[in-house]
Each structure stands twice: as C-alpha cells, then as structure tokens.
Amino acid sequence: MIRFPTDLAQAAGSDGEIRAGATDLAERRRTMAGEGPLVDLRDVAEARNIEVAADGRTRIGALVTIAALAHDEHVSGGYPGLAQAAGGLATPQIRAVGTVGGNLLQHTRCWYYRAPEAECFKKGGAMCSARKGDHLWHACVELGPCASVHASTLGMALLAYDARIDIVGATMRTVADLYGDGSDPTAHNALPPGAVLRGIEIDPPRRGERSVYLRATSRARAEWPLVEVLVRIGVEAGVIAWAKVAVGAVAGVPLRLPQVEAALVGAPAQAEALVAIAALAREGTAPLPMTAYTVDLLEGVVADALERALVADPVGGS
C-alpha cells in the first residue's frame, strides 16, 4: 500500500511510514523494516522552500533538499555554520535527494540496529547489544540504556540555532523537543506517531556572528563523523559576547554544551583562551570501554572549531 498525499495535512495521522527522499528509509525497508504501508511525500507541493520573513526569520521547509540548504545564498550568508553542516554531510548524491525533514528524523546508524542478527531496544528487543559488544563508534555521554549516537548532522546544527519546529499533528516547539532527553532507548526521536514535520524556523541572522561546523573522521570525505560540532560566537571588543556550541555523534541525541558556552562568555577572543575552555567539553562525559577516545576528539573538535571561528568571516561583514 502506498499513498501520495498532496499536502502534509493529508499525510499526517495516517498509519504508514512517511517517505521523503528515502535515502534512509529505502535501505531499512529492504533489510529490516519490511513492506508496511507507505505515505510518500512525492506529490506534496508545500514545504519545499526556504522563506525569509520581513523581520529576517528564516523558514526552511521539511522537504527542502540538503543540497538546496547548503547552496542557498541566504542561508550561507546568514547562517554559515548551518550551510557548512549541510554541505559537509553524506555525499553529493545523497544531499541531492535527502531532505531536511528526513535528515532530522533518520534512524540511528548503529551497526547493531542495522544488523538483522542483533537484539536491540530500537527493534523491540530488551537489551542494547552494543553496550556489551563492539561500541567503537558509540556514545561517550550516557543518557539512557541505548548506546547508539544520533545520526543527524542537521539536528545538531539546528540545535545550535535554537531552531523552532513546525509539526502537523502535534505541538512541539523546538528541535530540542523533537529529540527529547535521550532516555528512551526505543525511540529515534520524540515525534509522536502520525505526526509530520512541516519545517524549521530560525531567528534572524545575527550581525557579526562567526560560526564554524567541523567533524572528526578518519577518511577525508563522505564518512560518518566520529564527533561533530557547530560553534557560533559573537565577539565584541575583543571578548566573546555570546556563544552556542552543539555537538553530535557523542550521545543518543544531539547536545548543547552549556558549560562551555558559559565559560566562553566574557573570555578573551584569543585562541589559547578558547582552547583551554574547550577542555570543559569533557565534563559530563561517561565513555564506554571503547569510546574514551571520542572524549579527546570532542575536546579537539570544539577547540578546533573555536579557533577557526575566531578567524571566520562574520555574518553581514564586520
């Protein structure tokens, strides 16, 4: 069974899996999820644009492709970190069809979740195989019984922008709400069944903001991050006036680092000072036996991103 609704209201509330670009869903249906009913958003006309309101707020439709987000001039001008995150994830072919909504709501890439042989909370099991098994690429922050990390680069990036979300069929306010606190090992996100994401809204660009997206990997390109980070800072009179730091691939949901943000405010805008503050990123981590290195990487990418942010082009010119 497949339906092709023409707007998102029709898509909401039905039983059936929502299919957008299918770059995550297609493989899961083939190898694990089976052939239940589908709600394909192919013929939906709305939610395909990036719109800028008069006051500068930016709305990104859930069906905007990742490539369109990366190349949008308004986005790369006003939210350079977001554009870098979009342009730096997956591969050109995936970005060409993968959507913002699908990226936010994609399922974990944990190899146990994807292995048909494995037991896993997210597949209805009663345990996390990764915890006692091989968790080389798993969490270093404990939020709940599932050891996997959230896959969404855009979710992490939008968390740094305090993005609001627009949902058909549920009331939720922010990207943070979309993910919840990560304590439920069975969930990939907190979106209620039948709800459909219509879009994202971000505050107007902040003049003078400097932002950087970075990921740690072993290969040069097209590799899932070992750790990823988005840093936004405002610098006034040689001092950090405000800071937002989000990190991904370290926990079951994307995280903000409030301790790092707090320490940054008021710090001198100098590399050594920021690198020292990056060490606070280690606070609150609780690595599994094989993931201690990701704590080092976490500190490393935060330091790196802060250093780069210092010399990044400010939004709207300086």
């Binding site: 069974m1 497949i2 092709f4 299919r19 299918a22 770059t23 297609a26 493989e27 249906r29 083939r30 190898t31 052939e35 589908l38 394909d40 192919r42 997956a90 591969t91 050109p92 072919q93 995936i94 060409a96 069809v97 890439r109 190899w111 146990y112 994807r114 292995a115 048909p116 042989e117 494995a118 195989s129 006692k132 098994g133 091989d134 080389l136 740690a216 990997t217 072993s218 290969r219 040069a220 390109r221 097209a222 590799e223 899932w224 070992l226 290195y293 080092d296 990487l297 490393g300 990418v301 330091a303 790196d304």
Partner: protein
C-alpha cells in the same frame, strides 16, 4: 566445507584437478516445486504507474512501492548503472535525475514520475562520446570498470557545471574530490580519475586520443557485460538462507512452506551431512523463484531448529585449554584455504595448526645472534597486529547457470579463473571438459577472492538443474563482506639483529594468524625472500575460529609481513643512527631492487626529510620507506591462439580480464608485431573453451601470456611469409613490422591477410632459461626470481584529531620489461591505494560474542575514497630478467605489499611513535602520541 572446492590453492590448473579428486562428487540434496508453471511471484500489495523519460524517450513503468529506480532501469536492459552496495555509499548506481546525479539504489522508482532520467548509456549525445568519457579512456581512469559508469555520470555532470562556471580553468584535486566523494573504486583508479577529470576540464584532450585499453569504450559507455548483467530467458533468481549464528548444529530444516509459495521453483540444501554451522553468514540453503522478492519471502518461510553452540571467535578463546576443536581429527580434509599455494600437511593441536617453519635456516644461530646482539644494542624487536581486511570487489560473487541438456552446462561467473572453474565443474558433475563453458567477459574485481569454484556457482548450477531453467545467484554487499573473502589477521613477533658493522646476523619471526574457518596463512616466508642471506628462525601458526573464512588476498601474507618486518628494519636503522635506505641496501642482494635505491635517494622529499619526531606542533609531517619482494609465478601451459582472416587478426585464450588489462596486453603485443593499432586486433577471452590461458592470480597473467603471444606471432608471420612468397614468388622474404619484406620492397600484412587462407596457430610459452625454482605444481611454476619494490611515502599526522593523511607516494618497481606502461601504472597506483586502505581505514569487525558481521556495508567497512590518496608516482626499472621469455615478472601483488609499512615508518618519522596495530585509526594515533 559444503559446496566449496577450496581445498586446493589457486596455484593449479586442470591437470591437478583430475588427479586430485577422481570421481564426481555426489550432488547436493535438492527439491523442486510441484508447481513449475504458475507464473507470477508473490503478489505485491499495490502497483504504481510511473511516467518518466529515460535517456530522452518517454517510458511508462508499472512498479511496486519499494522497487528501486536502479532495478527498474536495469530491467529495461540498460545495465550500465551497477548495484555496488545498495545503501548509497559507493555510487556505482548513479544516474542523473533532471541532470543531477543521484544514487538510484535508494531512489524509489515512484520518484521517477514526471522526471527525466539519464544513464551512462544516454551520455553520448548523438553517438559522440562526452569529453569525460574520452578522458577516462585516454587516461586509463578505470580498471575492472564496474564503478566506471557511476564515476563517468558524476564526472560528466561536474564537467558541465565546471565548464559553465570556470571555462577552461583546471579544477584543483580538491574540487574533483569534492565532486566525486560519493563514489568508491575498489581497484583504486583514483589517481587516473583525477588526471582524466582535470584534463577534460582544461579542454586539453585531443579528440582522437587513443584509449589505453581496448575495452575502455565499452566500460565508459556502460556496454561492458558483467556476470550480474546477464539476463537469460526464463531466468530464475536465487536467495540463500544465511546462518545468524557462528556455531550451531541444525536439528531440523523444513522448507516445505517455502516451496509451496507461488513462484518458488526449487531448493538446494547446502548444509552438508554434519549439519553444522561453523561461522555466521554460512549459506544453509538456497531457493530459486521467479523474482528476487519471491525468493526472499520464501527464505523467510524456512523453518529451522538449531542447538546454538559456544562460538570461539578469537585466537585466545580458540587456544584456551579445553576449547573444543572446530575441526576434530578426521574432519580436517577439504578445509577452506586462505592462501595461494597448496596446503601442506601440518600438525594440529586443538585449534592450532603448524607451526610451519619451512624456510627457517640456521634458526639456532639466528636466536643466538639476537641474544648476543642485545648486549651491544643492535637489536630491534616488536609485536605487530594486523586486522582482517575484506576483498569486497565492487562486483559481488555472482553466477548465472544454464543447463542445455543434462550433459551441457554454461555458467556465467564472476571469476578470476574461467579455465580451472570449468574443469572443476566438469569433474564435480561428471561431465566432459568441453561440455562445460564458463564465461566471464568482464569481471568487476577479484583480488584473489574469485579464484576457485565456490558456492555462488554451486547454488546456481544445482538450482538450474533442479528447476530446469537458468538461475542467477549473487551476494549482496552484506554477504560479500561476510563471505566474499578476507585477508586473515595476524600477530607477528619480530626480532632483528646486526653485528657492529651493521650486517644482518639474525632474523626471528613468529606469526600467529587466523583466517576464521580457513587455514593456510603464511607470512614469515617473506622475510626469507627479501633478506635471504641472514640466519633465521621463521615460524607461522594458524588458529581456526568460528569466523567467516579467509581467502587468498592479493599478495597473501605480504602486507602483514612487511608491516612487521619493514618497521623493525626501520627501528633498527634508527637505533643504529643510520639511514634506513643505507641499511637495506647493505643487506639486499636482489638485482631487481638494487637500482631502486639510487632512484629513491634522488627524491627530494626523501632527501629533505627531518629527524624522527622533529615536528612538535599539531600537524606533523614525516617520510617513510619500505621495501617489498614477491614471488614470480608463471603458468607454463598458457597458450594463445592466433588466426588470420581476411578481415584481420583474431587472438583467443581462456583467460579473463579482472581489471588487470590482459585483453589489452594481448592486443598490444600482437599489434606491435604486425604494425597495427590495438583496436585492430580482435581479442576473445573470458571463455573456458578457448585454448588454455592463465588464471588471474599469483601475478602470473602478463608473464604467462607474453611468451605465447610472441610465439603465436612468430608462427603466424612465418606462415604468412610462406603464403606471400609462393603467391608473388618473392625472394629473400622475411617478416617485418610493416609486412613481408623482400628483395623488391614490403608487402603490408593486411594485403596478405586478404589473400591468405584462414590460418590458425597456437603460441606456447618457452621455459625460462635455466629452468624454474619450483617446477609447475598444479600448473603454476615458481620462477628463479624475486621481484622487488621500494616505496617512499609522506604523511601528515594531526596530533589533535588523530588523523593521518597520506600526502604523496613514490613506488619503484623492478619487474623487468613493462609491456604496457599505462596499464602497469594503473595496477601500481591501485595497489598503493588498496594499501592505504589497509594501513589506515579498513577493518572487518564481528560482534565479539556472537560472531556476526558489524561492518556490513561500505559505510562501516571503510575503503579509501578519492580524497584519501595524495599524488602517486610510479617508477619502473626495466632491467633484468633476461632469462625469462618476455623479460618480465608480475607486479599485481608486489604493488600492494609496502604501503602499510611505508606509512607506519612515515608516522614514526613524523611523531617518534611507532604504530604496532592496523588500521592506524584516530583513537590509536591519539593513544600512541600520549605514550
């Protein structure tokens, strides 16, 4: 192991086969569906009409909601786009959707509605090739060609964009890498792909520039037919039931419900009489049905009861006191063989086999020298761990089998050995040799994993017989990574000692390797072939576990051995305060490698390197060197048949082109003798019924084929001279490049082809002058030579994020005369690239408790991408090997031996930390730098 003829190594041909097993094996238990007529398979829940435009033509399809665009387009016969991974990582399936490249394995067919699709077949507008296609041909930016359609489509889109925005400016390597980041090439054609894309964009390409390979045009246009592309009328599709357990005894196996499913045609039971599962992924049975979806559903209906047994997954557990033997006494015949050579009889102790100490010599003396040398501080030692590496050729193991009558069998097989697999099939099914035809026109990579008769062929053949229809069976990527083959993991302890003068006075190496359920890993033998003079104690142990079996992988045993040995040599040089090149040159008697030292010393990056650990900042650069050596094998029975016809020359041989380029080599050798262009020689290979040709393994292809080609040319030219002399009553006639030279001038060969009767000759390979080191064993002889290589690599280590980048590599090779410099360079670059993957990224990981595969796709099993390689310079020293007909030995394996060692030595030079485990992941680098 059931169904697998893996007992012999692949150093074999038919003679051995006939002697080895004698009678035909009993065939496997099979059952046929009572209902062989019901046409449709499992009814899909709903169908969707899709109106699209395919390569400029309007097309309507009726598709199921979950059908992929790739499958739907390929079913129309446009098989250029390939299924590589099925999950968006490799890009082999790339097509343009409204002129934007997308991966079609993940794109639902319903998404094509109202859109325009362009495949590689539609790239050449009006018959004229796209400049990118021409550039790929001219620069040899392809080997097996399986990834090529995807790369070409993406690169063409990049080219069009680039030219529109930047005119004829050359894109940087980084621009190219960013555009092609969604494509993987297992052969490692990236270096040439950079050249092709960059040159095409600058418009420097001459429209008439010839292709380096004669089949390049077929590969860049999607016309080359691989086994997975074969579609026969009435063909059925097979799927297997794979064990999720690493060790289990099957109590009950009931496929009656599966067989009753409409569209299902037959079942073959692969379990064998012991009813044992010995590794996860093991094929338990296979089912043929009218389509893949039906076969998959049928597999899900099979009922199976098992006793799950304790799995021994590591060397430690397999060797623990009381561990049950995986192969009890009496069950040790016919074991899967992880190496190229035949298995020697060895001692067993529980799960331990060996030690093999074959090439030890004066071992006591070596041990004594090492102990004595310790006191004067001229010993270096270390323990090195290497991981399991998967072959993961981009074309999976695949077979399509069709029985003509009960007596004739045709198998399209993705194989490195058409000839010997056909003989093995004939023997297994009690058929005459000429009643079995194995066909492999194009093979999407093998690297050693496709050298023997294996389950994919057995499944297709058995099911085709029971179902009375052709059957296709192919592994998916998960199973390719699980079962397709792997290089065993090893732990090697090494100690080297010199005297005060720096002469090597003792070598000791003890290796413990595990190839899962396979045996035969040998690594330390390579210590002997590279530094043959020193006293040595060399020992190899094999430990069997309940992990999927290893197979011979390009240079079996080599990369682990050289990773351990060449790092220890480096450490010794460092300890002695000597230049590592000087030390090696002192010990190295091999005339093939000696000239390479001078070449290496002339490389400025090497000359100007700093002291070890000289950099202390975040980014630390270093340069490393490593040497390699490999055996020279040849298949002396190799033949080439050459025919002259009025239209030109036709050469044929039962060999196969797995990307090594033998089709081109044959054409080139013959064309050169007759003054023709390579495209004027018609080469027929990839069929077992042609005259005996070499298998692609043991780096033997070129050295086996040069002699027969030259001999065939000699014979044919002699006959043509004869014909011409008689016809035109020539005086002093003799062959020349341009034709028959005689007292009055030269008659072009083409004129003689036209008037001559059809002539057929068969060229043979002469013996090496002075004979062989080892006479042919099962068809392959070891020559009296050891080939030589030397690699220099520069790396950059990011001390903060633990990342190692390979900046640039130089590979020098002493393999004698290079028949085809472009193809040889491609092989060499590909070997270095595979070696970079081995050094830094690749690693098979199994669940430590249950033994199933975790790195089950090309996202998690990480092979190098185009951004990971740095420039690669290849240098050939063509001297030597005068006594070998053709004056050359193979290089296919040699080129992949040194990268891990050179990279590790470069890391030491950069950081003063010596990596002792592969792959050199960021976590290991961070830990190492903390020490």
């Amino acid at each position: 192991m059931t169904g697998e003829t893996t007992r012999r190594g692949f150093l074999r041909t038919g003679v051995g086969a006939a002697l080895a097993t004698g009678a035909c094996r009993p065939t496997l238990p099979v059952e046929r569906s009572a209902d062989l007529e019901s046409a449709p398979g499992v009814d899909s829940t709903s169908r969707v009409r899709v109106d699209t435009n395919l390569n400029g033509q309007p097309r309507a399809f009726d598709v199921a909601p979950d059908d992929s665009s790739l499958d739907v387009v390929r079913a129309t016969g446009l098989t250029g786009a390939k299924h590589g991974c099925g999950h968006g990582a490799c890009g082999a399936c790339t097509m343009m959707l409204d002129e934007v490249p997308v991966v079609t394995c993940l794109l639902p067919a319903t998404a094509l509605h109202g859109r325009r699709v362009r495949t590689v077949e539609g790239l050449a507008a009006g018959g004229a090739l796209h400049p990118i296609q021409r550039a790929f041909m001219a620069e040899d930016a392809l080997q097996c060609g399986y990834c090529t359609p995807g790369f070409v489509v993406e690169a063409a889109a990049f080219y069009d964009r680039w030219r529109a925005e930047h005119g004829e400016t050359e894109p940087s390597r980084d621009d190219v890498a960013a555009a092609l980041a969604g494509h993987l090439c297992r052969c490692g054609a990236y270096a040439a792909i950079y050249r092709a894309v960059q040159r095409a964009c600058t418009g420097q390409l001459d429209p008439g520039e010839p292709a380096a390979r004669i089949d390049a045009r077929d590969k860049v246009t999607g016309q080359a037919v691989y086994t997975v592309d074969v579609r026969l009328p009435g063909m059925l599709f097979a799927k297997a039931l794979h064990a999720p357990w690493a060790h289990a005894r099957v109590r009950r196996l009931d496929w009656s419900k599966a067989l009753a499913l409409p569209g299902v045609r037959g079942v073959v039971d692969l379990l064998g009489p012991a009813k044992l599962v010995r590794h996860a992924g093991q094929q338990i049975l296979a089912i043929a049905a009218v389509d893949e979806a039906t076969a998959l559903r049928a597999v899900a209906l099979v009922e199976i009861d098992v006793d799950v047994l304790p799995a021994l997954l590591t060397v430690e557990t397999a060797l623990a006191p009381g561990a049950a033997p995986i192969y009890p006494r009496g069950d040790r015949a016919d074991l899967p063989n992880a190496t190229e050579g035949p298995l020697l009889p060895e001692r067993w102790d529980g799960n331990r086999r060996g030690p093999l100490e074959l090439l030890s010599k004066r071992g006591d003396k070596a041990n004594r020298a090492i102990e004595e040398a310790r006191s004067i501080g001229v010993v270096a030692d270390g323990t090195f761990h290497t991981q399991v590496q998967c072959h993961t050729a981009l074309e999976p193991h695949a077979a399509v089998a069709a029985w003509d009558t009960d007596k004739r069998l045709t198998v399209y097989l993705s194989t490195q050995a058409v000839h010997s697999t056909a003989q093995d099939l004939a023997q297994r099914y009690g058929l005459r040799d000429d009643a079995v035809r194995v066909i492999a026109q194009h093979v999407g990579g093998g690297f050693g994993a496709k050298a023997t008769l294996q389950n994919e062929a057995i499944i297709a053949v058995e099911l085709a017989r029971v179902c009375g229809a052709p059957v296709r069976y192919a592994l998916d990527r998960r199973m390719e990574l699980m079962l397709g083959g792997n290089r065993p993991g090893s732990t090697i302890e090494v100690a080297l000692a010199t005297d005060r003068a720096g002469e090597l006075v003792g070598m000791r190496a003890t290796a413990t390797s595990t190839a899962g359920t396979a045996v035969g890993t040998v690594t330390t033998i390579l210590f002997r072939i590279i530094y043959p003079k020193a006293p040595r104690a060399l020992s190899d142990l094999d430990v069997v576990t309940h992990a999927p079996p290893g197979k011979p992988f390009r240079g079996p045993g080599g990369p682990p051995a050289f990773f351990a040995l060449e790092q220890t040599v480096d450490a010794l040089a460092h300890a002695r305060g000597e230049d590592p090149l000087v030390v090696r040159r002192r010990w190295d008697p091999n005339p093939a490698r000696r000239p390479l030292y001078g070449w290496a010393e002339s490389i400025p990056t090497w000359r100007d390197r700093g002291p070890a650990g000289g950099d202390s900042g975040r980014y630390r650069r270093g340069v490393g060197v490593a040497c390699g050596a490999w055996f020279a094998f040849v298949e002396p029975r190799s033949r080439v048949q050459l025919e002259s016809t009025p239209d030109g020359l036709v050469a044929s041989s039962a060999t196969q082109d797995i990307g090594n380029g033998v089709r081109t080599t044959i054409a080139q050798l013959i064309a050169a003798r007759f003054g023709l262009a390579i495209t004027e020689v018609f080469v027929r290979i990839g069929e077992s019924n042609f005259v005996h040709g070499p298998m692609a393994g043991g780096s033997r292809t070129t050295s086996s084929i040069v002699g027969p080609c030259e001999d065939a040319c000699d014979q044919l030219q002699a006959e043509l001279v004869d014909v011409a002399s008689r016809r035109w009553r020539l005086r002093d006639a003799e062959p020349s490049r341009d034709g028959v030279a005689h007292a009055g001038g030269v008659i072009p060969w083409r004129d003689i082809f036209r008037i001559a009767p059809k002539l057929v000759v068969v060229g043979h390979r002469a013996r090496d002058k002075g004979g062989y080191f080892l006479p042919p064993i099962e068809g392959a002889a070891a020559e009296r030579y050891v080939s030589g290589s030397l690699q220099i690599t520069q790396v950059e280590v990011d001390a903060r994020l633990g990342k190692v980048r390979v900046l640039e590599s130089w590979l020098g090779l002493g393999v004698g005369r290079i028949v085809s410099p472009v193809l040889a360079r491609s092989q060499a670059e590909g070997g270095v690239i595979q070696g970079i993957g081995y050094a830094l990224y690749e690693e098979r990981r199994l669940d430590p408790r249950a033994g199933y595969l975790l790195t089950a796709g090309l996202e998690d099993y990480r092979i190098p991408g185009i951004g990971d390689i740095g420039p690669i310079h290849v240098h050939f020293d063509e001297r030597g090997y005068e006594k070998v007909p053709g004056h050359n030995v193979g290089l296919g394996e040699l080129v992949t031996l040194t990268p891990a060692a050179a990279i590790a030595n470069a890391i030491f030079n950069a950081t003063k930390w010596r990596p002792d485990a592969l792959p050199i992941r960021p976590d290991r680098v961070l830990e190492g730098l903390r020490r």
